[in-house]
Amino acid sequence: MVEEAATAQQIADREMIARIGQGDQSAFSALYDRLSGPLYSLAVKMLGDAGEAQDALQDVFLQIWSRAGTYDPEQSSVFSWTVLLTRSRVIDRLRARGRRLRVVAGSTDDKDADVADASTMESAADTADKNDEAARVRSLLNHLPAEQREAIELAFFGHLTHHEIAARLGQPLGTIKARIRRGLLKLRQRVRT
């Protein structure tokens, strides 16, 4: 059911991207309405600054406008493509200002609301965004084994390298690589089921 809905959405996204590639501003406006929320949320989470996140989001959508023609559906869905574009732009900004540890600290602090225990997060997500896909993913993310969730959050939101994560957590490099890989695959598997 979820897979069918996601596929329909992915097809709609591809059509919008194709129209954007031909200079269709109404398609661009529609895609903005659909994606700006999650992409902005990602930018805020990584940057920890709403103003800077808005600037990053503007850059991302300008990039979507100019690069829509290069989108390859074989490599990823439109949503994942734009997520990775956003993350890339945010990382550029983090590198520019040299304060990426700010978000990392937040994402690894057990006292922080973002990484509260899984049951609390799941409960909050379920009650606030019961029918929301994002809430479902948050719930699934929080159901991952803690060490896997921690590793992929540090890598994805905090943009720490596997070497830095290994050093930070005092774990062997191979262990961190495996946690990232297993965490991502498990999340993907659970989202699809």
Partner: protein
């Protein structure tokens, strides 16, 4: 079959954690394996899912307007052909308009210059002065010479004579204006030279000269005559 090591590399590649050398090596493997490409695609989707783990927030509505404005500007900039064609289409008209304006300015300037020239001519006597050089004729000394500056508008002139000895007693030199409108020369007065044979006198013909074609000096009875009687000593045209 994808090895665990490849899977680890694929995960790091998807998250952009490989260094450039490692990424290039992995991309080489990627291009050679459909299975690996599919695996990476799944990891990319997982990364997309992961983004949904961020607490939901909405950008301000003004941001969309900002982005759409920027897009509209980009579109205008990236479609120069039409704009340029339109610009070039107007160019001949613009040039023609400029030429008309330019010609108008020139005409106006020409009229202004003509007015200024007329003013200058009116203000500067030299602009209305005709010069006549009188040379010896008959019994006058060979080195005698006279120059007349004649202003028709004012019906007056100045004559300067050199090397013309004073006439014998009872005789005077008399200046004549030879005018096309008069049958006989018009008297312009008696001229008296100093002991050095030099004279510079302002004169005015006794009658209106329409178009003077020459001036002449004759030797006349003392006090002058109304109509030339004596011989011409100096004469010249303009």
């Amino acid at each position: 079959m994808i090895s665990e090591e490849q899977q680890d590399q694929a995960a790091l590649y998807t998250l952009g954690l490989l260094n450039p050398h490692e990424a290039a090596a992995f991309e080489s493997e990627l291009s050679a394996s459909d299975e690996l490409r599919y695996f990476v695609r799944e990891l990319r989707e997982a990364a997309g899912d992961l983004a949904l783990g961020a607490p939901s927030q909405s950008p301000p509505a003004s941001l969309k307007q900002r982005v759409l404005r920027e897009i509209a500007m980009k579109t205008e900039r990236s479609a120069p052909t039409l704009t340029q064609r339109a610009s070039f289409a107007w160019l001949p008209w613009a040039i023609a308009a400029m030429l008309i304006v330019f010609c108008g300015v020139l005409a106006f300037d020409r009229a202004r210059l003509q007015r200024e020239l007329a003013d200058v001519r009116a203000a500067d006597p030299l602009m209305h002065t005709i010069f006549f050089t009188l040379t010896p004729s008959g019994s006058a000394p060979a080195d005698a010479k006279a120059t007349v500056a004649w202003q028709p508008g004012r019906q007056s002139g100045v004559i300067r004579i050199t090397n013309l000895p004073a006439p014998e007693p009872g005789r005077d030199y008399q200046l004549w204006a030879v005018d096309t409108a008069h049958k006989d020369p018009i008297s312009a007065g008696i001229i008296r030279v100093d002991k050095n044979g030099v004279a510079q006198i302002r004169f005015k013909p006794v009658d209106t000269a329409q178009q003077v074609k020459a001036f002449a000096i004759s030797l006349e009875r003392e006090g002058g005559v109304p109509k030339k009687e004596g011989p011409i000593l100096l004469a010249g045209t303009a």
